[in-house]
C-alpha cells in the first residue's frame, strides 16, 4: 500500500497512523503519547537544523527526532 514513514511527510501534510515498528521502548512511549493506529498527525515544522520534527497529534504539539518518526508508518490524509 502507500504507507510512508512519518519523517517523509512535508510540512503541513497530514497522515493517519497505521503502525509503529522498531524499538519496543520507543514505540511504547509513542503509543502512550497518543500515536495509536488510527490517530491523525500533522507535521507542523522542522527545527532550525532540520531535526527534530514538531507534529500535532490529539490536539497538542509533540516533538520527536526523525529517527523515531521513521518508525511510525502513516497513510497520507487530506486535511
Amino acid at each position: 500500500m502507500n504507507d510512508i514513514p512519518l519523517d517523509k511527510l512535508a510540512v503541513g501534510q497530514c497522515g493517519e497512523v497505521r503502525r509503529i515498528s522498531g524499538n519496543a521502548h520507543v514505540s511504547q512511549r509513542l503509543l502512550e503519547m497518543g500515536l495509536t493506529p488510527g490517530a491523525t498527525v500533522e507535521v507542523i515544522r522542522f527545527a532550525p537544523m532540520g531535526d527534530p520534527i514538531d507534529i500535532k497529534v490529539r490536539g497538542y504539539h509533540l516533538s520527536l527526532r526523525r529517527r523515531e518518526a521513521a518508525s511510525v508508518e502513516v497513510s497520507l490524509k487530506t486535511k
Binding site: 509503529i20 524499538n23 519496543a24 521502548h25 520507543v26 514505540s27 511504547q28 512511549r29 509513542l30 503509543l31 502512550e32 503519547m33 497518543g34 495509536t36 493506529p37 488510527g38 490517530a39 507542523i44 515544522r45 527545527a47 532550525p48 537544523m49 532540520g50 531535526d51 527534530p52 514538531d54 490529539r58 490536539g59 497538542y60 504539539h61 509533540l62 516533538s63 520527536l64 527526532r65 523515531e68
Partner: protein, 704 residues
C-alpha cells in the same frame, strides 16, 4: 466556570479517614501550581530513599484546624514504570513505597486544553481504584483556544468528581478543597474494555499474579495490563524469578498474536478509544478556529533564522545578567564576611580560636553564601523559561547539535549555565529525565570555564604577556573557554560510548502551549532550590573550608613571615612533596601550594600566591604578583614562569576540578560519593595529562 450545584455534606467519621492525598498529573499540567495553592508555604522537599526523585510533601489546612497531607507525585505521562519517576508514582499509589503510606485519595490534575492525552494517565490511575477527584486545570487556556468543556458531563463520563480550575489565579481551589473533603470512597467499576478475547486472557493472567504475589484482584489486574505490553518486563524488578507469571505472559502473547491482536498496542489503543468516546460532545469547539497564539509565536521563535537570533539573544541576556548583576551582591557578601572576620580579629585575643572563627568558620560560611546570587538569578531565568514554555523550544532548537555527542537537547541549558558557575548548572540538570544523560551532563559541566577561573586566567595572561593588548587578552581567554568546551563535548561523547553507554536518548518531548509565567511558582521554586543548596551543599562546603584553613595554618611556625609560615604548614609540605610530581608540568613547589590551597576554590589561587610571594597591601592589583612571578626562579636560576609554564598552568585550571562546592553539589545530586570522587579523579587526571603534553611537547618543539 460551572457553579457548584451540589452541596457537599459529610459525616464526621467520613472525613476522619482522610489523612493524605496524592497529586498526580502530566508534566506541564500545572500540578505544582495546584500543589502550591492547596498548601501555601507549608511544604517540604526531600528525596525518596535510594533514587534521585524529588519528594514534595505539604500540608493543607482546612477550616483552620484540620490538616491533610498533600503529596506531590512526580509529573508523568504514564504509570508504565519505564522511568524512576513513573516507578515512584506507581509504587506510592499502590502503597509499596517505603516510608510513604498509601494515599487515601488521588487528585488528578489535567490540562483542559489538552484533554485527550491528559486523560490517559487518569484512566490508568482509575484502574487502581483509589478514591479520585479530577482537576480540570487551565480552563482559561482552553477558552482561549475556543474550547468549551462541560465539566458536569465529564464527571458523569469518568465517574468521579471533576472540578474546573484556573490554579494560577486561585480560581476553583476552594471548590477543590470541598470536593477533596467530601470525596466518595467507593469507586465505579472499570468502564473501558479490551477486545473481548484479550479481556479474558488478562483476567487469567491477573489471577496468576494475584496468587503468586498475594495481591488483591484490582492491583493484580493493573499489573497484568502493564506486563502484557511491556517487552522488557524483566526490568520491572519484583516479578523477576516468578516463572509461572513469565510463562503465562508468553503463552497469552502467543495466543493473542494468533488471533491477530497486537498485544504491544492493544491496551493503549483501548484506553484512547474509551477516552475519545467519553469526550465526544463534552468538548465543543466554539467560535472560529483562529490560529492559536502558540502557533503564531512558534512560527517566529522556532523559525530557521529568527529562532536562532532570539535563542542566542535570550541566552546572552541570561548569561550577562548572571555575570554582571550577580557580581554586585557577590562583592557585598564577600565584603561583609571580610568585615565580619576583621571585627572578630579586633575584638578577640589572638590565638587559635580567633583564627578558627575568623579565617576558618566565617570564611567558610562566606564561601557558601557567595554562590547564592548566581543561583538565585539562574533559577529565576530557568523558572521563567520553563513556566512560559520556552525551555522546551530551546531543547527543540539545540537537540540536533547536542545529539552529535549523544546528548539530549535538554542538556544545553545546564551546560551553558556552567559558564557562570557549575553549581547552579549541575542543579539545573534535574530537567533531564534519563538518569544516564543527566549524569553525563553533570560529569562534563565543570569543563565549562566558570567565573572563578577568570582571576587565574587574568593573572597568568599578565605574566605571559606583560602589557598585553585587550585583543591579545581576549583571544587567549577565548581560547581557554573554547578548550574547555571542546573538552566537555569530547568527554561527553566518550562517556556515552563507554562508561555510561546507553541508547542515544530518545527525544520525545511535548511542546506545551506558551503561557504567562506564575511568579509565585517561580519564587517558590527559587526558594526551594536555595534552601537545598544551603542545607545540603552548604554543610560540606563549610566543613572543607575549615579543613583547608587548618591545612594552611598548622603546624604553627612562630615569628616568621606569612610566606614562611605557609611553607611550614601542612599545605606547604604537600606542595613540596608534590614538586617532583608537578615538575614535569613546569610547576615548582610554590605553584604546588597554590594548587593545594585552591583545591577548595579556584579563586583562592591568587590570594594564596600573594601570601607565598609575600605581597602585602595592594592585593587587588595584578602588577605586584605579576612582577613577583616574572622574577621567580628555580634553584638553578632559571625562570619558573616561562611562557610555557603559564600556558600549562592555565590549561591545568581549565580541566582540573578545583571546587569543593561543585563536589558537594554533585554528591547531593547523585546521592552518593562515588560520582563526585570519580569526577575529581578524571578531571584532575585529564588536567595533569594535558598540561604535561603541552609543557613537554612545547619543550620538544623548542619553546620555553
Amino acid at each position: 466556570m460551572p457553579e457548584e450545584t451540589m452541596i457537599f455534606k459529610s459525616s464526621a467519621e467520613d472525613t476522619k479517614e482522610l489523612k493524605m492525598i496524592a497529586l498526580a498529573g502530566n508534566p506541564n499540567s500545572g500540578k505544582t501550581t495546584v500543589f502550591n495553592a492547596l498548601t501555601n508555604l507549608r511544604q517540604k522537599v526531600g528525596n525518596y530513599p535510594g533514587v534521585t526523585v524529588e519528594k514534595k510533601i505539604g500540608r493543607m489546612i482546612v477550616s483552620g484546624e484540620r490538616e491533610v497531607y498533600v503529596l506531590d507525585l512526580p509529573g508523568t505521562y504514564s504509570l508504565a514504570v519505564r522511568s524512576p519517576d513513573e516507578r515512584v508514582a506507581r509504587d506510592i499509589l499502590l502503597g509499596r513505597m517505603k516510608d510513604t503510606p498509601q494515599p487515601d485519595m488521588v487528585v488528578c490534575i489535567v490540562d483542559a486544553s489538552n484533554l485527550e492525552r491528559n486523560l490517559y494517565l487518569v484512566n490508568q490511575i482509575q484502574d487502581l481504584r483509589l478514591p479520585m477527584v479530577v482537576v480540570l486545570n487551565m480552563m482559561d487556556t482552553a477558552a482561549q483556544q475556543g474550547k468549551e468543556i462541560d465539566a458536569t458531563r465529564l464527571a458523569q463520563g469518568l465517574g468521579v468528581p471533576v472540578i474546573a480550575c484556573v490554579a494560577t489565579e486561585g480560581k476553583g481551589i476552594e471548590a477543590l478543597k470541598t470536593a477533596i473533603l467530601s470525596g466518595s470512597h467507593s469507586m465505579p467499576e472499570r468502564q473501558w474494555r479490551l477486545p473481548e478475547a484479550m479481556e479474558i486472557e488478562i483476567e487469567r493472567l491477573a489471577g496468576v499474579i494475584s496468587e503468586c504475589m498475594h495481591l488483591d484482584k484490582t492491583t493484580a489486574f493493573a499489573e497484568a495490563l502493564i506486563l502484557i505490553s511491556k517487552e522488557d518486563e524483566k526490568k520491572s524488578g519484583w516479578l523477576i524469578g516468578k516463572k509461572r507469571i513469565e510463562e503465562c505472559v508468553k503463552e497469552i502473547r502467543g495466543r493473542l498474536t494468533e488471533w491477530g491482536i497486537n498485544w504491544r498496542s492493544a491496551v493503549v489503543e483501548a484506553r484512547y478509544d474509551w477516552i475519545q468516546k467519553i469526550l465526544k460532545d463534552i468538548v465543543r469547539q466554539t467560535g472560529s478556529k483562529k490560529i492559536a497564539l502558540t502557533d503564531r509565536l512558534d512560527a517566529i521563535l522556532t523559525h530557521r533564522i529568527w529562532g536562532w537570533f532570539i535563542f542566542v539573544g535570550l541566552m546572552a541576556i541570561m548569561f550577562f545578567t548572571i555575570f554582571s548583576v550577580a557580581s554586585f551582591p557577590m562583592e557585598m557578601i564577600d565584603h561583609f564576611f571580610a568585615r565580619l572576620g576583621d571585627v572578630v580579629k579586633n575584638s578577640m585575643p589572638p590565638g587559635d580560636l580567633r583564627d578558627l572563627i575568623a579565617n576558618g568558620m566565617i570564611a567558610g560560611v562566606g564561601a557558601v553564601v557567595v554562590f547564592l546570587p548566581q543561583i538565585l538569578i539562574l533559577f529565576f531565568f530557568i523558572g521563567l523559561l520553563q513556566d512560559t514554555g520556552y525551555m522546551a523550544r530551546a531543547a527543540f532548537i539545540m537537540d540536533k547539535l547536542m545529539s552529535r555527542v549523544g546528548l539530549h537537547g535538554k542538556s544545553f541549558i545546564p551546560l551553558l549555565s556552567s559558564f557562570a558557575c557549575a553549581v547552579p548548572g549541575i542543579m539545573a540538570a534535574r530537567t533531564i529525565e534519563s538518569p544516564k544523560d543527566r549524569l553525563v551532563t553533570i560529569l562534563v559541566a565543570p569543563l565549562f570555564s566558570c567565573s572563578a577561573r577568570l582571576p587565574i586566567y587574568t593573572i597568568m595572561i599578565a605574566a605571559l604577556i606583560p602589557g598585553a593588548s585587550a585583543w591579545q587578552k581576549a583571544s587567549i581567554m577565548l581560547a581557554m573557554y573554547l578548550l574547555g568546551m571542546v573538552g566537555a563535548f569530547v568527554m561527553a561523547w566518550f562517556f556515552k560510548k563507554t562508561l555510561l553507554k546507553s541508547q542515544t536518548p530518545v527525544f520525545i518531548m511535548e511542546l506545551p502551549p506558551y503561557r504567562l509565567p506564575s511568579f509565585k511558582t517561580i519564587v517558590l521554586q527559587i526558594w526551594e532550590r536555595s534552601l537545598i543548596f544551603l542545607r545540603r551543599a552548604g554543610t560540606v562546603i563549610f566543613c572543607f573550608s575549615i579543613l583547608m584553613w587548618a591545612l594552611m595554618s598548622y603546624p604553627k611556625v612562630l615569628d616568621v613571615s606569612p610566606a614562611e609560615s605557609l611553607r611550614g604548614s601542612f599545605a606547604g609540605m604537600i606542595g613540596s612533596v608534590l614538586e617532583p610530581l608537578i615538575k614535569p608540568l613546569g610547576f615548582d613547589w610554590r605553584i604546588g601550594i597554590g594548587l593545594v590551597g585552591s583545591f577548595a576554590a579556584r579563586e583562592v589561587f591568587v590570594s594564596t600566591m600573594n601570601i607565598v610571594f609575600n605581597i602585602q597591601g595592594h592585593t587587588s592589583q595584578t602588577e605586584p604578583l605579576r612582577d613577583a612571578f616574572r622574577n621567580a626562579t628555580w634553584p638553578d636560576g632559571a625562570m619558573v614562569f616561562t611562557p610555557l609554564t603559564c600556558i600549562s598552568l592555565m590549561v591545568f585550571y581549565v580541566f582540573a576540578m578545583q571546587c569543593i562546592s561543585t563536589i558537594a553539589v554533585v554528591k547531593r545530586e547523585t546521592n552518593s560519593w562515588r560520582w563526585p570522587l570519580f569526577q575529581v579523579a578524571y578531571l584532575t587526571g585529564l588536567a595533569y595529562v594535558i598540561a604535561l603534553c603541552i609543557f613537554q611537547g612545547g619543550k620538544l618543539l623548542g619553546f620555553q
